[in-house]
């Protein structure tokens, strides 16, 4: 009998104690959660207050920007009109100039292809002597030139003077570095009586 009473009291006490402990624990946690949610609600109110500025502000900016963007072409047109009005324009000739191609005129080769030379067919008055020939460009003798063999190597430095007094050196600078042409000039100079050898 006594044991049953004690057990009953223990059960009731355990139930009450368990409920009390757990409910206190849950209450503490829920209170903390409530405080956090209250802080979050405050943050949300701040966000709403900040977001309320976005809509009207962006709408205002969009409207004003549209007006500015629409007015800019008008300003451009007026500025171009000012530039066109300020820039001096030369008076237009009464007789318009003949239109010429922008690329210029090209010398015709048709006459020269058939052997016609306009400078030879020029006529002069009978009592006037023909104009003198244009002075020829004097050939300057170069002191030396360098002939090359077929391999392009330099053979030696030669000075070649023809018997008629025409120096061959005037032609030698035209020698291309190709060995065949160089040797041909070399043979031509030898056949013309040039003295080829080391000076």
């Amino acid at each position: 009998m006594t044991a049953l009473v004690v057990l009953t009291v223990i059960v009731i006490a355990a139930l009450i104690a368990g409920l009390a402990v757990y409910l206190y624990w849950a209450g503490t946690l829920l209170d903390r959660i409530g405080a956090k949610l209250e802080g979050a609600a405050e943050i949300v109110r701040g966000i709403v207050a900040d977001a309320e500025l976005i809509g009207p502000g962006v709408e205002h900016i969009n409207e004003t920007g549209g007006v500015v963007a629409g007015a800019l072409p008008l300003l451009y047109g007026m500025a171009e009109g000012i530039v066109a009005g300020v820039t001096p324009t030369p008076p237009r000739p009464e007789v318009p100039e003949v239109a010429r191609p922008a690329s210029g005129t090209r010398r015709s080769r048709l006459l020269s292809s058939v052997g016609y030379k306009p400078e030879l067919s020029r006529t002069y008055p009978a009592d006037s002597p023909p104009p003198p020939n244009p002075p020829r460009r004097p050939r300057t003798a170069r002191p030396s030139c360098r002939l090359r063999n077929r391999h392009g190597h330099s053979e030696a430095t030669h000075t070649c003077v023809a018997p008629a007094g025409i120096t061959v050196e005037g032609m030698l600078p035209d020698i291309s570095p190709l060995s065949r042409h160089s040797l041909r000039v070399h043979h031509w100079a030898r056949a013309a009586g040039c003295q080829i050898g080391c000076p």
Binding site: A51, G57, G81
Partner: protein, 91 residues
Amino acid sequence: MNPTEHTLWVSVIIVGFVVVVAVAALLSLLIYLIKRIDGRVDTIGATLTAAKANTAETVLIPQVATGVDAVLAEGLQHHLFLGRVLGKVKS
């Protein structure tokens, strides 16, 4: 106390212990769920704090709108100036 009453009392005591254990289990589950809610609330608070930091700069939007208005006013002045100059140049 007859045996029937004794048996009933013992049975009630056993049921009482079972109820105590069940209540403890259910309250433990309640505590677990409350802790989960607490963690989620922490996450929500951090997200809201970041959002608040992002939207804190929206105060500049009205200032930008005021600046754009100033640009428009200056553009109108340019328009008037160019209109006057264009009339003089063309004349």
